[in-house]
Symmetry: C2
Subunit: 592 residues, 2 copies
């Protein structure tokens, strides 16, 4: 059985020493002093470790079952969900006007990481609710907000996103689900939606489906898509669930992982739907959910890496095989712990440097969201919009990679179900696929986000990197171990950006063929920046004599590994990008 | 349901045009003309596609069951195994003196790829037999050979390897299984062995276990290990299985993949064993099996990539989403096949260039084995000994990567069980672990193989690369697209080798910390060499007007992709290697 240890110390260090949230000047952050965040994180960590984690393997083994349209979640899920809802965790960062706790998104992110590490499949039941709440909050009418948000925040009702249909996922312009206007102002929704996470379950008294559909006679393609609220039970004006709506879960997907989350085929058979926002403007509203979901999926990716790494480390400390170079580490035992071996250590450092860097990147992204939304800062909004596909694509690729490396640390044991590592691999795998495959993320990055506003957000990013280097160059140790490699990597990113600007107009295929490598190049520079910021904070703490010296030293050592052994990947990505589309597209499709 | 298409055309091209087996001067190769190999490959391909592949998903779903010491394999396995045995495939390359067909190992390798692509879990039942046969053939007495080999070659008896125990896998010096000499010259074997593939099943009338054990009073560590034949049923002198031996399968592992292969916990309770070779010389004999098994596992890795890629390609041709840049490819349809998109194409080219390069590398390795064994060529023996950990480690890492990329091509569908891609991922995963984890392969490469005979085999490898470049530099297109990148990559490999030679003596940790990257660097140079050889053969075919021009052109285009987009990884690996052990080992084990 794998174990989970909440990394609250690392989170506290990130929040207060690296991100310096006390001085961030973001509305609402003034409440977040060290004691307060410690209390919240400790309680969330306790729930994660004691309530959620013990149900992760059992939920995977049992899975969900569908019987006559009703989905049963695994044993223990109802009780655990009840504790999450009762604790107010679902509305932690929701609007207090509707019963939320009004905390910053950053705090919600830290809590979310622990819940996801402990039990990703279960967390999705309320994770999807969160996205649906955001869409209603931003795009719904006052009446819709008043009717739905309090119930969702309380966890009595849950939410879903309905986009994909059997013949289209990425290309939403092809959807066929119809929404026919009715005299009473509602719409009749008819169609089939697939991959609906938490589309049906036994955890809440109602489920609020957000459904993309086309109103007949509207514009072609994505310009004719509208968004509807389609509740499982139609609520009356007081919010009491009334008659059953004409929708049903008609199938569950049998999947590689996240068995405990019900992935539903939903059939809408003339169901009553309520328009959200304006007709034909559904894509905009759906992007609100999708952008949030993409950040959440990036978090899922590295959070699986976090728990996988913890278990790999525990094994590497206990498993005795072979002897260390030089003096034995365990002279009284039959062999040394495998952690003494350089190749095992390399593997562990690889995992550790990825997940800690990923956490810092994700927290920084969450802070940017708070700055954008709470501080009404357009530049922060544009920057996080640029970084969202990087967080989703890079961190899920690296999160999955981490779970595979962690599994590898255990050798044959890692391949067994009992050790639990293989579940982290299977669960993490979906994060590279859903909410837009990572290939789609890279196209969003290169095709949409990069050129926005003439590339302003990208320039802002480079300014942040340059500014950081400039401010800290006086620290010789920081310079050689962190700033110099960061500068090299950042130059690779600039060269790639220039390549796209120059080639993109002449031959867009060149940019598209390099998009995936660009996403990874960008991700590495972001993690390089994060490690440089972490190292600066750790050095400051050491210099001031505050904090745990061993803890701070460990951060610097881990960062130095990243800079020396991971960050140089930027050169490879640049080489691939600048080789252009020619070799990628040369082979005739029929000749494959 | 996934499909499988035997790649016999590609194999024929490799055998006759790239490896030029007709002129290789290897005893036994004179029989292998084009028509002969075509007939063998066609028949093997037919069996793979029609008999083995249809049982792959069902075998995974059903798995093996253990009841009172007896293991039941999935439905259809007995019949399919019977066809393989009756067709003489198990002894295809075995000694005719014992009923084998005496074919070269190379042909066996080509056949094996198809069987493994079609059904890896099933193929292991006779794959392990093959390794056990080799150990008995090389190290057994004449009487042992006469008693066991004919039955194993015929497939009436199967074989296993018993190395690992619960407390030790890699570090075999720690094994506790005892072998007590008996007055009649046999040994009483007592102990527990784990991860025994095909340790118990219902496919054969007897199972020949090869077991590592220690004779009490012998030397400490691996120098005190002996190898024993421990049959499930003790045969009489005529080879009739007699009384049941005191051994039992006491458990099956529940695993991430290869569900249809029984991974057994074997308990030996005073079982009768027969010494193979000399007392305390068991490791040498086991290495015969292990080296062969490592090549076989490398093949398993890329063979899963082959079938995964085939299914990704089929999906990319059929799935309609979005439109091509420029003119639509499918103007009458609602959208274009996703294959038109540069990022999808990049993913497919990545897969294709890896699996085809891996096949060439593996076939070349098999040819080296034939040259070593049939031609009694020590240099070939030393070279394949050097390359074995690269084939195992690099090709299984890349094979697994390919299955993951192929799964990604299918988007959400790839995550479903029905599509079958997720099984290829789960099955391929074990190849990075068993027969020595890939970390162990890299240590074998750097610590043992590289320095052997003063580095002679490595110098031989460099001479092969240089010789090839020298001979072909006159071809300008080959030079720019293939030879120049190969030269650059080979220089990276030389630099890494020099680093190990220089640093290895001063600080062995530097070499060990870079071993994994060295294995990958080496693997890339090998695949680069293979693609250069393939391109030369294809260009010769085009110039001569022989062969299918579209087929030959496709080989060159795929190779050019590899050289431009994959081979530059050597620079990254070199950078990591030369960063040394410092950042890898800096963090105190307690500070992780």
């Amino acid at each position: 059985m794998p174990t989970y240890t909440p990394p609250t110390d690392e989170m506290q260090f990130l929040l207060h020493d690296v991100l310096d949230i006390g001085n961030a000047g973001i509305p609402g952050y003034d409440e977040l002093d060290r004691d307060f965040t410690a209390a919240v994180l400790d309680e969330a960590g306790r729930i994660a470790a004691e309530v959620l984690a013990p149900l992760n393997a059992t939920g995977d083994a049992e899975g969900c079952t569908l019987d006559n349209g009703a989905v049963r979640t695994p044993a223990g899920f109802r009780e655990a969900y009840g504790q999450i809802a009762a604790g107010g965790w679902i509305g932690l960062d929701a609007d207090p006007a509707y019963g939320g706790q009004g905390m910053p998104y950053l705090l919600n992110t830290a809590v979310g990481e622990m819940f996801v590490s402990a039990n990703m499949a279960m967390n999705m039941y309320w994770g999807l609710t969160h996205g649906a709440m955001s869409a209603i909050h931003v795009h719904g009418s006052e009446a819709q907000k008043a009717l739905y948000l309090p119930k969702m925040i309380e966890g009595i009702w849950s939410g879903t996103m309905n986009l994909t249909e059997p013949h289209c996922g990425t290309d939403l312009g092809l959807i066929r689900t119809r929404a026919e206007p009715q005299p009473d102002g509602t719409y009749r929704i008819t169609g089939t939606k697939i991959w609906i996470s938490a589309g049906e379950h036994d955890l809440t008294e109602n489920i609020v489906h957000l459904v993309l559909a086309k109103i007949p006679g509207g514009p072609e393609g994505t310009k004719g898509i509208s968004l509807f609220i389609v509740p499982k039970f139609l609520p009356d004006a007081d919010g009491n669930p009334g008659p059953r709506n004409a929708l049903e879960c008609v199938g569950l997907e049998h999947k590689m992982g996240i068995h405990a989350n019900a992935t539903c085929v939903m059939s809408y058979e003339g169901a009553t739907g309520f328009l959200v926002g304006e007709e034909h403007k559904g894509m905009r509203a759906m992007f609100t959910m999708m952008n949030e979901a993409r950040l959440g999926v990036g978090l899922q990716g590295y959070a699986q890496g976090v728990v996988a790494y913890q278990n790999a480390l525990a094994w590497a400390r206990e498993r005795l095989q072979g002897r260390a170079l030089g003096a034995p580490a365990n002279p009284d035992g039959p062999a040394d712990p495998i952690m003494v071996h350089p190749d095992v250590r390399r593997n562990l450092m690889h995992q550790k440097s990825l997940v800690e860097g990923a956490r810092a990147f994700t927290f920084w992204g969450a802070q940017l969201i708070d700055r954008a939304h709470r501080g009404h800062d357009d530049r922060a909004e544009a920057l996080i919009s640029l970084l969202t596909p990087v967080i989703k694509g890079f961190l899920t690729d690296k999160g999955f990679e981490t779970t595979v490396l962690a599994q590898q640390t255990l050798g044959g044991t890692g391949f067994t179900r009992a050790a639990g590592l293989e579940q982290f691999v299977r669960d993490a795998r979906i994060t590279m696929i859903y909410e837009g495959t990572n290939g789609i993320q890279s196209l969003d990055l290169v095709g949409r986000k990069l050129p926005q506003d003439g590339g302003r957000a990208m320039r802002d990013f480079f300014e942040i990197v340059k500014g950081f280097i400039r401010e800290n160059e006086g620290d010789a140790e920081l310079k050689s171990g962190f700033l110099d490699p960061l500068k090299t990597a950042s130059k690779d990113l600039q060269a790639a950006t220039m390549y796209f600007v120059e080639q993109g107009m002449k031959n867009p295929a060149d940019a598209l063929a390099g998009s995936y490598d660009f996403m990874h190049l960008f991700g590495h520079v972001c993690l390089g920046l994060m490690w440089a910021r972490i190292a600066r904070a750790a050095r400051a703490g050491l210099a001031a004599g505050t904090g745990d010296a061993a803890f701070l030293t460990a951060r610097i050592a881990t960062g130095r590994y990243y800079m020396a052994r991971q960050l140089p990947a930027t050169g490879l990505h640049l080489a691939r990008i600048t080789s252009g589309a020619e070799t990628v597209m040369a082979l005739d499709p029929d000749a494959f």
